[in-house]
């Protein structure tokens, strides 16, 4: 048994060693000609940022933007644990505040997002407004109050004097969308921009949703590999060209 496993093990070690060599030599060859900018971005920016990054790369030849998308709070905790990011784009100011001591300069607001009600196609439960989400016979899902979209949902409901009765408090807006798109829930509270990029979903607008807007800050990190490039990226995001792309995706100006 042991004897038969040995050649396999030896082969595996050899492959690992070879892979290690290849990776390091590729890195060495790539570094002089091109530059990489690592952007940690809130999940709600997923599609729109691809378009913005393409424009930024076109204006900065030799620069490749690598974006990592996740919940803002996940990203903030990764940055606190030392993840090698150059720029952080958060879906709310609270998460940016949690890494305030690792920033290079003040955060710049570049977009806002508001909430809407997502319903499955055809709106089977005939949801017409926020008040319907207080009705236990309507199966509704929201984000948990601990995450930005849930905090916004709670504030908005409080402003309207509505007590939400969710069947589930999800970890992030993608999970809310998933439950609604699958028809498992009759309604969910998500961002306006999420409905624009999801399929199998319709939006039921909330009157006065703009009273609670999530503001998206961007900041270069103090440990950025190239501080000038990181600062240029943040400035580009707040510029007219990026703002136009953001507006097309449903984001409002800050």
């Amino acid at each position: 048994m042991t004897r038969r496993a040995l050649p396999t093990l030896a082969a595996a070690v050899a492959v690992l060693a070879a892979a290690g060599c290849t990776a390091s030599s590729a890195d060495g060859a790539a570094s002089p000609s091109t530059e990489q900018l690592t952007v940690f971005a809130a999940a709600s920016l997923t599609d729109v940022l691809d378009a913005i990054d393409a424009r930024f790369e076109a204006e900065h030849p030799g620069v490749t933007v690598v974006a990592a998308f996740a919940g803002s709070s996940d990203l903030a905790s990764q940055i606190r644990e030392g993840a090698p990011a150059d720029v952080f784009l958060s879906a709310d100011e609270a998460q940016m505040d949690t890494i305030a001591d690792t920033l290079d300069g003040d955060p710049v607001l570049f977009a806002t997002n508001t909430l809407t009600i997502a319903v499955p196609e055809g709106n089977p439960a005939d949801v017409t407004g926020l008040a319907d989400l207080a009705d236990p016979s309507v199966v509704s899902v929201v984000c948990a109050p601990q995450v930005p979209c849930g905090a916004a949902a709670e504030r908005l409901a409080a402003l309207d004097g509505v007590t939400l009765a969710p069947a589930s408090e999800e970890q992030n807006v993608t999970d809310v969308l998933g439950k609604v798109a699958a028809g498992q829930a009759d309604a969910g509270l998500v961002y306006v921009t999420d409905v624009a990029r999801a399929s199998g979903i319709e939006a039921v607008p909330i009157d006065g949703a703009d009273r609670v807007a999530n503001r998206y800050p961007a900041a270069a990190l103090a440990d950025a590999a190239d501080p000038d490039l990181a600062a240029a990226y943040v400035a580009f995001l707040a510029g007219d060209e990026a703002r136009g792309i953001l507006a097309d995706a449903g984001f409002a100006a800050p």
């Binding site: 199966v139 948990a144 601990q146 028809g183």
Partner: protein, 254 residues
């Protein structure tokens, strides 16, 4: 049998890979707040729900998994291989895939239809189904391999002495299988206790209803990472205890 000496450093590396994350977790536990954190109302609600659902899932696993193990043993040739692979699939499926599959079977738009799906959506029963789905393979494998090790001679003798098939099962076969059943049940319980992805995807997350300890830990990270580490340690302790328990009789028997 210890193998050649050069295995030792690799074994040490392997041991480190497993042990270091646990050490890291322990290092993050705020010991001064530990008792308060793991006995907070939230934590006790989540741990209590985890305990109840995991026990229910274990009972279901025994009730359904043991007969499934017998049925698998009764099959012959290629068919047994195919069925075994199907039954064991939940063991290796990515949890989120398992959750989606459950949704498509038992969801409101699933195969069983709105009546069944609607009564399960976002309920504790949905959590138990998800846990049973992922835990069942442990029981089936235990029973099948234990049956493979029996000759069937004692069962044949009991039958010639006039015992009915049910009596043979209860008085001869099951007592022989007892150690395997115990191992299978304990491992199934541990797997149910640790279940996360399928629950999140299929059942949702609401305190006291569907938010089991792993889901609570995931959410706690947002607001209090130290509390998440404390609650994690409780699950780690239970998991290690359970696995030690499950493998003790097997080792002494061989």
């Amino acid at each position: 049998m210890t193998g050649p000496r050069w295995l030792a450093p690799l074994a040490a590396l392997g041991g480190l890979l497993v042990a270091l994350p646990l050490v890291g977790l322990i290092a993050r536990v705020p010991w001064s707040r530990f008792v308060a954190l793991v006995t907070s109302e939230d934590a006790l609600t989540a741990l209590g729900l985890s305990l109840r659902t995991s026990l229910a899932a274990t009972v279901l696993t025994v009730t359904l998994g043991v007969p499934l193990g017998f049925a698998l043993r009764a099959l012959t040739g290629a068919l047994r291989g195919v069925v075994r692979a199907l039954v064991l699939a939940p063991l290796v499926l990515p949890p989120v895939v398992g959750g989606l599959a459950l949704l498509y079977a038992f969801g409101r738009r699933g195969l069983l239809g709105e009546t069944v799906g609607g009564s399960l959506a976002f309920t504790t029963a949905a959590v138990v189904i998800a846990q049973t789905f992922v835990a069942m393979p442990f029981m089936v494998v235990s029973v099948e391999s234990a049956l493979a090790a029996t000759t069937g001679r004692r069962e044949a003798i009991a039958a010639t002495l006039g015992a009915s098939p049910t009596r043979v099962l209860a008085r001869v076969t099951l007592p022989t299988l007892a150690p395997a059943l115990a191992t299978g049940a304990v491992l199934a319980f541990a797997r149910a206790l640790g279940e996360f992805g399928a629950t999140l995807t299929f059942a949702g997350s609401l305190a006291g209803v569907t938010r089991t300890a792993p889901l609570d830990i995931y959410l706690l990270r947002e607001t209090d990472p130290e509390a998440a580490a404390a609650l994690s340690l409780v699950l780690v302790a239970v998991a290690i205890g359970v696995v030690a328990l499950a493998y003790r009789p097997v080792r002494s028997a061989s």
